[in-house]
């Protein structure tokens, strides 16, 4: 398989993720979009690893690290969203603007 195919897929996934993070209003969706971006990066790592035929499998190792960190991150992120929901009764990023600069 030529290298360009997984790379294009990764680009598409990453752009989807960026769009989700920047534009979606539901905090859960935003978290999911973050996961999309992370996995796009993972795809890149694995693809380059395979392409270089790396004996030490550096790319795959890094991908495992990223998956681990992503798991921790989603745990933390969900906890924050949960608190936001408990405190405000919604999980809407547009309406969660407590840190706005006071006039």
């Amino acid at each position: 398989m030529p290298l360009i195919v997984p790379l294009l897929l990764a680009v598409v996934l990453f752009c989807l993720g960026v769009y989700g993070v920047l534009a979606r209003r539901n905090a859960i969706t935003v978290l999911m979009s973050v996961e999309l971006m992370l996995n796009a990066v993972n795809l890149n790592l694995v693809a380059f690893d395979a392409w270089r035929v790396d004996q030490l499998a550096t790319g795959q190792t890094a991908a495992v690290f990223v998956i681990t960190i992503a798991a921790a991150e989603i745990g933390l992120g969900l906890a924050i969203v949960l608190l936001l929901f408990r405190g405000h009764g919604h999980a809407d990023t547009d309406r969660a603007r407590d840190l706005v600069e006071a006039e």
Binding site: V18, V21, L22, A23, V30, T93, D94, A96, R97, D98, L99, V100, E101
Partner: protein
């Protein structure tokens, strides 16, 4: 508890000083320096000789009296612990000055005394005049001390040593400059013209502090210093002539100011200035007789001036004020004399000694100054005898004026109305003829009585000292001199009596203004300094602070636009960050290609 501890410590220390004087009595003069290399060995050099013993005795006895008296005087007042501690420190500083053989050790004691006097004069700092008097005393003595410090440098460098015992008296011009600079400090510390005005203004301090300052410490330090470095001063005749002029001028001017003052403590303060000038007059003669006479007068003056201030303290304590007008209200009917017999008796002794009544200590010591001046004037020192003549005349005139103001003080404070029936004397108010009005007026006062035993015991002790001290030198009295001074005494006392008898107390305006020294200083020093201080404040507030505030304001204004970007919406921020990254990436690509 702390107060008690300090009192015990203070009295023990004062008694130890007196005991040290007794132990060192007639011990051979010695100097001692710690076995340290370099400057430290010089710095801590101490000595003992006749002068040290004399001063230790004065300081020890007067400080003990003052400490004991203070127990009664400050009874039930706040800040007694710190007061007692500072009095003790004051005494210790004077002892340092007295035993020092190193000029720098002397300077340390000298300056610590300045601080202590500032703190003690400001003991009642709730009162405005006390604060002002304290600051004035500190600033004026410090002003003189600048000259003192440089005098030490000049003398030490010129003489090759900062040990007093090693200073070689040399007649060089440098020695004259050095002694003149030292004289600045002496004039400031001992309140001589032109720095004399701080002493009368230091009167809001507690009376025992005044006794200590005027008798044993502080002002006595100036006389002590000249006596200590007498050889160096004698070798510089120019300085001695200046000292003679200052002394002659001061003793007459201060005595004239005392004749017009209307407050007991202020009169006593001016009399201190005047009597210190008499001591300086004796020292300025440059003869051993003169030095001896000056120190003898220092000794007797310490006894009777401490006594007089302690008496004035009892008056203040009992009547609440020591001004003539208030005292007359009680004294008009002779009440003070009858209700306070001990105070009356001791104060009479003190005033008689100050005036120089024959038989009392002040008479003998003043006569010895006159006699020394007469001998110096007759024999001449070197080729000039005018300083001695000047001192002689000034001391006689001062003796007359002193007798005048002592009699005036005594009569107006303690005796009933002298004015003929229905007449009113000075300081007396119209409505006092009505006895019911008097009683109504006196109701708020507590009944007058002599002070507590704590206060009376030191007074009696000092009165005894005043009575007997003079006889130490009585055998050397010259009958002719005694006759002349007694005549001067009569010339002063009789006019005072006759004025009082007529109920009059004329006070020329120029004397009431105390020759306008303060007004002049106000114009020449205080106002320019205030003006300069105002300029500095304006410069700081409007120029320097203006820049600082301007920069702050500019920063706030500049950041105002960015503050609006803080919308609280995280996604906006992220969008900006992503756009920034993309822009940077594009830029990097463009540059790379």
């Amino acid at each position: 508890m702390i107060t008690l501890a300090w009192r015990v410590l203070g009295i023990a220390f004062s008694l130890a000083v007196a005991a040290a004087a007794a132990l060192l009595w007639q011990v051979e003069p010695q100097t001692w320096a710690p076995d340290l290399s370099g400057f430290s060995g010089t710095l801590y050099a101490v000595r003992t000789d006749d002068l040290t013993v004399l001063m230790l005795a004065i300081v020890g006895v007067v400080a003990s009296c003052v400490q004991v008296y203070s127990i009664g005087y400050l009874h039930g007042e706040p800040r007694t612990a710190s007061y007692t501690a500072i009095v003790t420190l004051f005494t210790a500083a004077m002892v340092t000055v007295v035993v020092a053989d190193s000029l720098f050790l002397l300077l340390i004691g000298w300056e610590v005394m300045g601080v202590c006097s500032y703190l003690l004069i400001g003991q009642y700092w709730e009162r405005r005049d006390a604060r002002a008097g304290a600051v004035k005393a500190f600033l004026m003595t410090r002003f003189g001390d600048v000259g003192f410090l440089f005098g030490i440098f000049v003398l030490g460098v010129a003489g090759g040593s900062f040990r007093i015992s090693e200073l070689e008296p040399s007649g060089s011009g440098l020695a004259t400059v050095g002694t003149l600079l030292l004289l600045c400090g002496v004039v400031g510390k001992s309140a001589q013209i032109p720095l004399q005005t701080w002493l009368p203004d230091a009167m809001p301090g507690p009376a025992p502090v005044s006794a200590l300052i005027h008798a044993a410490t502080m002002v006595a330090a100036g006389v002590f210093l000249v006596a200590r470095m007498f050889d160096v001063f004698v070798a510089a005749p120019g300085t001695l002539s200046v000292l003679a002029v200052i002394a002659a001028l001061t003793m007459v001017v201060a005595a004239l100011c005392a004749t017009a003052a209307v407050e007991v403590k202020r009169i006593l303060a001016w009399s201190t200035v005047s009597q210190l000038a008499v001591m300086f007059g004796g020292l300025a003669l440059g003869t051993d007789d003169g030095r001896h006479a000056g120190l003898f007068h220092l000794l007797t003056h310490a006894a009777f001036k401490a006594l007089l201030f302690l008496c004035a303290g009892v008056l203040l304590h009992q009547v609440g004020s020591a001004t003539f007008a208030v005292l007359r209200r009680r004294a008009r009917r002779g009440v003070l004399r009858k209700l306070m017999p001990v105070t009356f008796g001791t104060m009479t002794i003190g005033l008689a000694a100050l005036a120089g009544v024959p038989g009392l200590s002040g008479f003998f010591s003043k006569d010895s100054v006159v006699e020394a001046a007469w001998h110096a004037a007759r024999d001449g020192r070197g080729d000039t005898s005018w300083p001695a003549w000047l001192v002689l005349v000034a001391v006689l005139v001062t003796g007359m004026l002193t007798a005048f103001y002592c009699t005036r003080l005594w009569l107006w404070v303690f005796f009933g109305s002298p004015a003929p029936l229905g007449g009113l004397g000075a300081f007396e108010e119209e409505d006092l003829g009505d006895s019911s009005a008097v009683d109504a007026q006196e109701q708020p006062y507590h009944p007058l009585r002599d002070g507590s035993p704590w206060m009376l015991a030191p007074m009696v002790l000092l009165a005894l000292a005043t009575l007997v001290l003079g006889y130490a030198e009585a055998s050397q009295l010259d009958p002719a001199v005694a006759g002349v001074t007694t005549l001067a005494l009569m010339f002063g006392a009789v006019p005072a009596y006759s004025l009082w008898k007529r109920g009059a107390d004329p006070r020329p305006a120029v004397l009431e203004r105390e020759f306008g020294f303060d007004a002049f200083y106000q114009l020449a020093v205080v106002r320019p300094v205030r003006f300069a201080a105002g300029l500095v404040v304006t410069g700081d507030r409007d120029v320097i602070d203006g820049w600082v505030r301007g920069f702050g304001k500019a920063g706030t204004l500049a950041s105002d636009g960015f503050r609006r970007l803080q919308t609280g919406n995280v996604q906006t921020y992220l969008t900006a960050a992503v756009l920034g990254v993309v822009a940077l990436a594009v830029l990097a690509g463009v540059i790379a290609s």
